[in-house]
Amino acid sequence: MLVTDKYAYTSKLAKKDPLAKVIFTFAALFLCLILNSVFVSIFILIFFAGFTIISNPAVSFIKYIKFMLIPFSFLIMGIIPVLITFVKDESIIILIERFNIGITYQSLSASVNLFFRALSAVSITYFLALSTPMVSFFESLYKLKLPKLFISLMELIYRYIFILIDEAEAMYKAQKLRLGYRNFKSSLYCISELAAMLFIRAYKRADFSYQALLSRGYDGEITTISQEYEKAYIFYVLIFFIAGFCITLKAVL
């Protein structure tokens, strides 16, 4: 279920300084949104897709395309209202003549722009997601001096997600074996019971966890030893090159 998490560990960049990667990602996102041009977006899309595929041996081209298709349903649904609009006179296609509904040059260029900008932003996020395991991501948050309690909460939630997914999968299998999910009514009942039981189990787990932590000297704070990471100044250099290239691209075209 956690699509990207497994692949993040196989990346060649997994051991690099996570803070540099986070800063790199946010700088690129900012650049992509602020320049807001089709050619810049396409360049960023190609660059980050290539970078991710080359740096991660487990992510093939086909797999990457599949990743990119995940947010597609929102993309299509989100673009249709921008694309189809009330037409005055300068239209390309009139879909419903009576109400003057159609596509104009303006709406077409706006939606093409939006399409590529969203896709390139997704490719940037995938770079972070497919090169930084969550554990390293938390390290970068510690370095950013976010409240410790908040990061500990994130770490615990992340840990518990896997425990609960395992339980949910076991329960799902058991229900399926006992002829669950036959029709709408049965599906609704099965999934509801699964959710309720999952909550009860989660509550019990929390009890056990708390006892285990207490017996190990827990006093409201969880301290962990941070890992050593390789320095990665290359990302700071790289972002300057990308920024320079993108700005010239925007100025020229």
Partner: protein
């Protein structure tokens, strides 16, 4: 179960979209890069006070009882897993619940802002639903407006003497609908119609997302009631501790 179905579902989802019945639709997470920088920052600024307030509320509760921390973490994980389950939709397709209503009823709306923020961050990094730049807008609709609406409706319905089952249904339904309306408003503000302006754009966004969101709200309402009833039967004590009864 979910891993295998995830990729298998994408092409059917695309195909069935054109038959106006999306196979699977996540709750309305605004995708990465969809909002312009000014709107992204605007919604982040609007969402931050709620997160800070929720954070201090959590900190206060933890200083009273350290167990609350573990409980909250488990609840957060539960909410994440809940939002990745597939629930049967009344139109015959499947969709993912938001967990907004149930979460707000169980844990109250204040900690939901913090938990919602963490869940949305995980969803954008692990599942590619939502995004880092649009996280402010998503927090505002899904972790602030939705839970507060659901909680308000739940408490109001209980005060009006409606049975708790129906109150939970109404809460979950209202939470989903208001989340959907808020997201539509956010999208319409960012992309107003060239001719009709904000209102035309709002109707367009609400119209297109209604296809998935209204059936989802009904299904999630039903789901929440059954979950709530089972919990009431088996773990009344725990619910009492969380002050949800």
């Amino acid at each position: 179960m979910i891993t295998k179905n995830l990729f298998a579902g994408i092409f059917p989802a695309l195909l069935s979209f054109f038959l106006t019945l999306p196979e699977k639709s996540y709750a309305m997470h605004i995708m990465e890069g969809y909002l312009s920088p000014s709107w992204s920052i605007f919604w982040i600024v609007l969402a931050v006070p709620f997160i800070i307030y929720g954070f201090f509320a959590i900190r206060k509760k933890i200083s009273e009882n350290t167990k609350f921390f573990i409980l909250l973490a488990m609840c957060g994980a539960f909410a994440f897993v809940l939002s990745s389950l597939k629930i049967p939709s009344v139109t015959g397709s499947c969709s993912h619940p938001t967990g907004v209503g149930l979460g707000a009823v169980l844990f109250g709306p204040t900690p939901m802002a913090v938990i919602g923020f963490i869940i949305l961050l995980f969803q954008s990094l692990l599942l590619a639903h939502g995004g880092l730049t649009t996280i402010g807008a998503n927090i505002f609709s899904m972790a602030v407006v939705g839970p507060f609406a659901a909680y308000g409706v739940f408490k109001g319905a209980l005060k009006a003497g409606i049975s708790s089952g129906i109150a939970v249904f109404l809460a979950a339904f209202a939470g989903d609908i208001l989340t959907y309306v808020t997201t539509s408003i956010q999208l319409a503000l960012a992309y107003p119609d060239a001719v009709g302006g904000f209102m035309t754009s709002l109707w367009k966004f609400m119209g297109i997302f209604a296809v998935t969101q209204i059936p989802l709200a009904i299904s999630e309402g039903l789901l929440s009631v059954i979950v709530y009833n089972v919990l009431l039967k088996y773990s009344y004590k725990e619910l009492n501790l969380l002050k949800a009864v």
